[in-house]
């Protein structure tokens, strides 16, 4: 396009072809076309383009298109309620919500108790702590002794009871 008038005229092409221009604008366009060979050529080419598009080869559906479609429609009709629920968007959204809830719960758990959740081996007495050394009797006794009473006292008491029982048995046999 050569100048602003050419631009203006080309912008009017569709309305001009469809007779939708005011008589004043139509006259202006026609006057310009009679003087401007470039725009006249463009209008001619546009006519050819549109003619080609109107006669553009058409594609057609395959002969079994309708039959295939109707068998899919039949499938739709026989779809069970559970299938509909399974396929429905709401079900999928609910699934995502449950998954999101689980992740949030897991996140909260980590946030509130990061040590036991992330590294459970660092927690004493953790049942799954496979690498922890097995407790020995000494360690248990020492551990117990350190508490009030203690296993050592208990053992001593048990020895005294045994001695007392033996003495009682001697007394019984003497009396016989």
């Amino acid at each position: 396009m050569q100048n602003t008038e050419c631009t203006f005229v080309c912008e009017q092409y569709t309305d001009y072809k469809e007779n939708a221009l005011s008589s004043e604008t139509k006259l202006k366009v026609e006057k310009h076309l009679s003087l401007c060979a470039t725009c006249s050529d463009i209008f001619q080419e546009l006519n050819e383009v549109i003619n080609n598009l109107h006669h553009f080869p058409k594609v057609t559906t395959s002969p079994d298109f309708t039959n295939n479609l109707m068998s899919r429609v039949d499938d739709l009709k026989h779809e069970t309620t559970w299938h509909k629920i399974y396929k429905s968007t709401y079900t999928r959204v609910a699934g995502y919500a449950v998954a999101a809830g689980f992740l949030v719960a897991l996140g909260l758990n980590i946030w509130l108790d990061p040590v036991s959740t992330i590294n459970p081996q660092k927690v004493q007495g953790f049942a799954g702590d496979q690498n922890a050394p097995s407790p020995t009797i000494e360690s248990l006794v020492v551990g117990a002794d350190s508490a009030s009473g203690g296993v050592g006292d208990t053992l001593q008491l048990q020895n005294n009871t045994i001695k007392a029982t033996n003495q009682s048995m001697h007394l019984v046999s003497d009396s016989k």
Partner: protein, 191 residues
Amino acid sequence: MSEKITPTDEQLIAQFQGGNDTAFVELVDRYKDRLVNFVYRFLHDMTDAEDLVQETFLKVYKNKHAYREIAKFSTWIYTIAGNLARSELRKRKRRKTYTMSELSFDDNEFTPVDTGKDTEGIVFNTYAGQEIMKAIKQLAEPFKTIIILRDIQELSYEDISTILDIPMGTVKSRVNRARLKLQETLRYLKE
């Protein structure tokens, strides 16, 4: 002799909404080729185009009561098909299979479509047919859609305005610009 009156699309959809499946089949027969022509210009694959048109009709079947006679049936069904086509193109872009084949213009793209199914394959073998198709593909999406709806599907400006949800003035100006772009692209054929 009484003349058989052909029901309008709107009368057929009303019958279908009332439970008459034969009316649905009649609508399928009326629109299947028009819709496949429409979506084929975007997808460039006959199998995909047919699948998408089937999806369109299934949506119509499932949501028949969503149609209200405030719009023409044709604009409703074109809107559904157009939305599905756009969604399919977005999926293709995500899968990265849409890049070169859709944006480049090698001759491989114009390998005739299954000629058993349509006649376009034969015409694609002609140079002009190939060049016109290339020029349409070269247009930006809004211009491509508008030129297909107006000059290939030959829909009215009013219908296009409803389908694309844009003002009629915008439709007209885009049609004109799309035509000018096509004319520019195809000009070298004459030189």
